[in-house]
């Protein structure tokens, strides 16, 4: 991707006027190539050069902002290749044929269903408003109501252009997403979007159909496009999502270089099945999914799924060595020692947390190995652990002398006790983290 400094230099005016802040056009070109400057800084660059440059530097899948949520910009097929970047946005559907109570309940769920996890707040992202009635006035009223009821970004859905325009006007400046432009009306929808600062979904019956008119929307001045390629079930969604990403990343097809939307609540009426569709959509490339409701029991697994799939796999799977406080431990709280493999830490910490027993968790650096692996590699063994425990400063925080080791390394307890001497009493804990709550409560 991208052009070299020399290629960019050839497109610049070569007058070295310095207005861009660089001493020469060549220096400016180099800065551009390195991503350290913006093309806008040169007032003299030709439109033609601008087009070439922005084309070459654009990401293969465009980033599209809806309200404060960005989708797209993905660069890979498999998360281990690099990372997935902008997590799939989850939208909740309301329609102008629902009664007030139903709309209020759904918006309330969207606003309030959140989960705290590893220091993050997980929640759904967007409100999709559908003009099921066909009535422009009703639709506009619902958009206005929604604007007062939620801060979330909006997707405005109507086949009726008057309704779509009324909704778009009501939401002017909020960065709404208009659903949808088709092959027949795309220029008109693009006009409405442009006038109201909105982005546009290009919707067709197939990937091919959609690819034939996204260019017209862009040409009409709306660059923020999202694709609905007409999937109606799990299989077609899986196929289309794969093909769109392949077209964008491998064939470098600009007409399909956009994030996607899957209206999965139209593919099934069964809330469980809808959750399964959502699960696949998150793993396999959807930019936005529209669901029928944001209920806790489905959102908890789905938001965790999204967090897991979009976690940066390059991040080392280790925790920092040290003392971790769980459930606000005090001087008489138990001490558990384990390794710094992130999963070990996370599973053990979750169990301790669930037990609600205040506990000190002593994490030892064994290069991110699990307990058994570290033990067999000679890293989680008595003569390495004892000096670590002594240096850790753990003793200074407690008024007892008990230290609990994982049940999987019960065999080291004698030697560990010998190494530690009389300052500590070694206790064998459970093999499985899942048995920890009962163990801790029984101490």
């Amino acid at each position: 991707m991208g052009l070299t400094g020399i290629q960019i230099f050839k497109l610049l005016p070569k007058t070295n006027c310095k207005e861009c802040g660089s001493p020469t056009c060549l220096a400016f070109a180099m800065a551009l190539a390195g991503g350290k400057a913006e093309l806008d800084k040169c007032p003299y660059v030709s439109d033609e050069a601008k087009a070439t440059l922005s084309e070459a530097s654009a990401p293969p899948i465009r980033g599209v902002q809806i309200g404060d949520k960005k989708v797209g910009e993905e660069l890979v097929f498999y998360r281990h290749e690099k990372t997935f970047i902008n997590p799939t946005a989850i939208a909740c559907l309301v329609t102008d044929e629902m009664d007030d109570a139903e709309v209020d309940a759904k918006i309330n769920n969207l606003n309030t269903v959140t989960f705290e996890r590893v220091g993050l707040t997980l929640s759904a992202d967007l409100l999709a408003i559908r003009n099921s009635s066909g009535d422009a006035g009703k639709f506009e009223a619902l958009v206005n109501k929604a604007l007062g009821a939620t801060e979330k970004g909006l997707i405005l859905m109507s086949d009726n252009l008057d309704a779509l325009e009324a909704g778009a006007k009501a939401a002017n400046g909020k960065g709404a997403l208009l659903y949808a432009a088709t092959a027949d009306n795309c220029e008109k929808v693009a006009e409405i979007a442009k006038a109201n600062g909105a982005s546009v979904v290009a919707k067709g019956a197939s990937v091919e159909e959609v690819s034939n008119f996204t260019g017209k929307i862009v040409a009409a001045g709306v660059k923020d496009v999202v694709l609905d390629t007409g999937a109606t079930d799990l299989k077609s969604m899986f196929y289309n999502e794969n093909q769109v990403r392949r077209a964008a990343l491998k064939a470098k097809n600009r007409d399909l270089g956009f994030p996607t939307i899957e209206v999965i609540c139209d593919m099934t009426d069964d809330p469980y099945k809808e959750a399964m569709l959502a699960n696949v959509a998150i793993a396999k490339y959807a930019g936005i999914i529209v669901m029928s409701d944001i209920d806790k029991e489905r959102m908890l697994p789905l938001l965790v799924q999204r967090l897991n799939i979009y976690t940066d796999p390059q991040r080392p799977m280790v925790m920092d060595e040290g003392i971790y406080e769980i459930n606000k431990p005090g001087p008489d709280s138990p001490v558990i020692i384990t390794t710094n493999f992130a999963l070990t830490y996370f599973i053990v910490a979750a169990e301790i947390e669930a037990s609600r027993v205040p506990t000190w968790l002593l994490i030892m650096d064994v290069e991110g190995m699990s307990v058994l692996t570290a033990w067999s590699a000679g890293k989680f063994v008595a003569d390495a652990m004892a000096p670590f425990v002594v240096k850790s400063g753990m003793k200074e925080k407690i008024n007892h002398n008990k230290i609990i080791i994982p049940g999987y390394v019960a065999q080291i307890s004698g030697e560990f006790q010998e190494e530690l001497g009389t300052d500590w009493e070694v206790i064998i804990g459970t093999r499985e983290a899942s048995d920890l709550p009962a163990f801790l409560k029984g101490l």
Partner: protein, 315 residues
């Protein structure tokens, strides 16, 4: 730019594994494309779900997952029959939890006898899973193999510390082996090589690359499995061409998001069953999307949901 569908062709393909005997035998694996990508290559065998049966149930199990089995929960053979006859299980996985030396510590002869009884009672292939206690598993599974000679059971998990005895028994008495490794591509390959070197052919080995549940490291299992699949297909690495199995039921049903009631954690939502079923079903679908061929699952509702996904994606 005109759209043209892109396809991926791979030089390698995954091997197969057949377990069970006679006309009840099931074959998994053999895929020449990444999961469900029939538009790229041949997918001769659909993924299979084996339903779990425990010979002793942890009293901590949430009520939601005890409920479907509450009439048979103390009778593993009846439980297995119920799974097959009522819940349509295509295979059964017997979890020999009672042989755990830290639990009831039941002996190998008991386990072998239970397996024989179960084989006589059900009409689907059987997987026999140890308690995870490395030395005891070797002893128990070897006996299971011997007493049930020629039944082509799938037994495991064989790990670095006990694979020799388990693989030897499988080879000697005509069974297949689960080769388990700790979430690492190279260690998975190493285990295949070690077991294969003992004389067990590759089509008698299935990999368990260590299964983590949603929220508990599922992304590690997911990426390791995608990398194993790509090594088998794109790099044609013969030592990676064993199909994959995921022992996921027990991982999912101990997640705190599943274990805790609405009273204990109100933010999680009152319908604890829905949470649990989806936790297991979503973890299962993640494993399938990453390349799994055989899933071990617990909840009949979750099994049904995942089977629907398999069928729709394979249609």
């Amino acid at each position: 730019m005109a759209f043209s569908a892109q396809t991926e062709k791979y030089s390698g393909k995954m091997g197969t594994l057949t377990f069970g005997s006679g006309d009840q035998a099931l074959t998994v694996g053999g895929q020449a494309s990444m999961p469900f990508a029939a538009f790229d290559g041949d997918l001769p065998n659909k993924a299979v779900i084996a339903m779990e049966v425990y010979d002793v149930v942890n009293p901590e199990w949430p009520a939601a997952v005890v409920e479907p089995f509450k009439d048979v929960i103390n009778d593993p053979v009846a439980w297995a029959k119920k799974n097959v006859e009522e819940y349509g299980a295509k295979a059964i996985c017997l979890q020999l939890a009672s042989t755990d030396p830290n639990g009831e510590d039941k002996d190998a002869a008991y386990a072998a006898d239970l397996v024989s009884k179960m084989l006589a009672a059900i009409s689907v292939p059987l997987i026999v899973w140890g308690s995870g206690a490395v030395e005891k598993d070797a002893e128990v599974l070897a006996k299971v193999c011997e007493v049930n000679e020629g039944k082509n059971l799938l037994i495991g998990p064989a790990v670095e510390e006990n694979y020799k005895k388990i693989a030897a028994a499988a080879l000697g008495y005509g069974h297949a082996v689960v080769s388990q490794s700790p979430i690492d591509v190279n260690m998975a390959k190493q285990m295949n090589i070690l077991i294969n070197n003992l004389g067990l052919p590759m089509d008698k080995i299935i990999m368990e690359p260590s299964t983590a549940a949603l929220g508990y490291g599922v992304e590690y299992s997911y990426s390791v499995m995608e990398r194993i699949s790509l090594a088998a297909l794109a790099q044609n690495d013969e030592k990676m061409q064993c199909p994959m199995i995921n022992d996921l039921g027990k991982e999912c049903w101990k997640a705190r998001e599943v274990m805790l009631s609405d009273k204990e954690e109100p933010g999680f939502g009152p319908d604890q069953e829905k949470r649990g079923v989806l936790w297991e079903a979503m973890t299962a679908v993640d494993m399938l999307l990453a390349g799994s061929n055989l899933l071990i699952m617990r909840s009949p509702k979750a099994v049904k949901l995942v089977e629907e996904c398999i069928n729709e994606l394979s249609a």
